[in-house]
Symmetry: C2
Subunit: 162 residues, 2 copies
DNA sequence: ATAGATGCAAATATTTTGCCGCCAG
DNA sequence: CTGGCGGCAAAATATTTGCATCTAT
């Protein structure tokens, strides 16, 4: 895993430096997982994501690249990636209904901080978070493979308006 | 809010000291929210919960108390409680499918630590977590109203078996 | 060649909504 | 009394599965 950083902006949009680097494709290849035409397309969509996407958005984008891709394949590919720990599944505190969002993750975990009013999502990294995970791992005697932290509240902007 | 502690055991079962104390009912009354027969039953189920429940389990338990309660009422009541911040909604990392789990929460947030193998869920409290939230609040200029942290991994027991 | 992937359609699962009669306050 | 609530049925959403066919390796 390269130490390539993930750049974040306050709108929740993401500029993934790994974009188009074929990072996910390399990971699958290393695991000897069959790379089909359809999978390549979904991987490309995930890698070039500008924000968290739900299955429907991923399907739409994938079909722009290759119109023959079906929803079922998207679900199956997301399951595959999730199973190998290459993407995370979030629900952003259900602020926008009960759909699920997916993102390919960089080398370091981040926290999702969402405004319950305007819906903006910001990604946040913290050494304290890393320390907390170490504490959990030690105290619960668990070998952590996946973590997810979502925080909701009122952002400064929305508080000013109120 | 009382400072009544929440006792935790490693199986993810909960012994909520607030159980049967009518805690939720008092909260609703204070907000001048109509207390119907059905709502009382759902509140009772939530308060005496021994573990995280999905909507279906809540319905089953509620119907044991009053067989005339419908699924729709359960959903509407859960929405009501969620909207007032009296219960939390989790998905436990989708370890058991895509359902949602609900729990009435005590005065202090806790982290859910789940084994991806055996499915046991343990609740974990930590000062470090409180500190992390303060950091997020400060650095993101957000007034936090809800947080959720879920951690998955292999518990000691499952690692021993492998 | 062949294990494993895809596509199609249908099945599941979960949650939400419209409408009307009923009840808590 | 009356506005909010619950029940029913149906809709909307989201995800999964069986099976025949195709394809990456």
């Amino acid at each position: 895993m390269s130490g390539t950083p993930l750049h974040r902006v306050s709108t929740g949009e993401r500029i993934n430096v790994n974009a188009a680097s074929g990072h996910l494709q390399r990971e699958l290849k290393a695991r000897r997982i069959r790379l089909t035409r359809q999978r390549r397309v979904v991987l490309q969509v995930m890698e070039s994501a500008a924000h968290h996407m739900d299955a429907n958005e991923i399907l739409d984008l994938a079909q722009k690249i290759d119109s023959k891709i079906t929803r079922v394949t998207v679900y199956r590919t997301l399951d595959l990636l999730k199973g190998h720990g290459l993407i995370d599944e979030l629900d952003l505190l259900h602020l926008r209904g009960h759909r699920h969002y997916y993102e390919s993750h960089g080398p370091r975990d981040h926290i999702h901080v969402a405004c319950i009013q305007c819906g903006k999502v910001r990604e946040f990294e913290s050494d304290l978070y890393e320390e907390l995970k170490r504490q959990i791992s030690r105290d619960c005697a668990i070998e952590i493979t996946v973590t997810r932290t979502e925080v909701g509240g009122l952002c400064a902007e929305c508080r000013a308006k109120a």
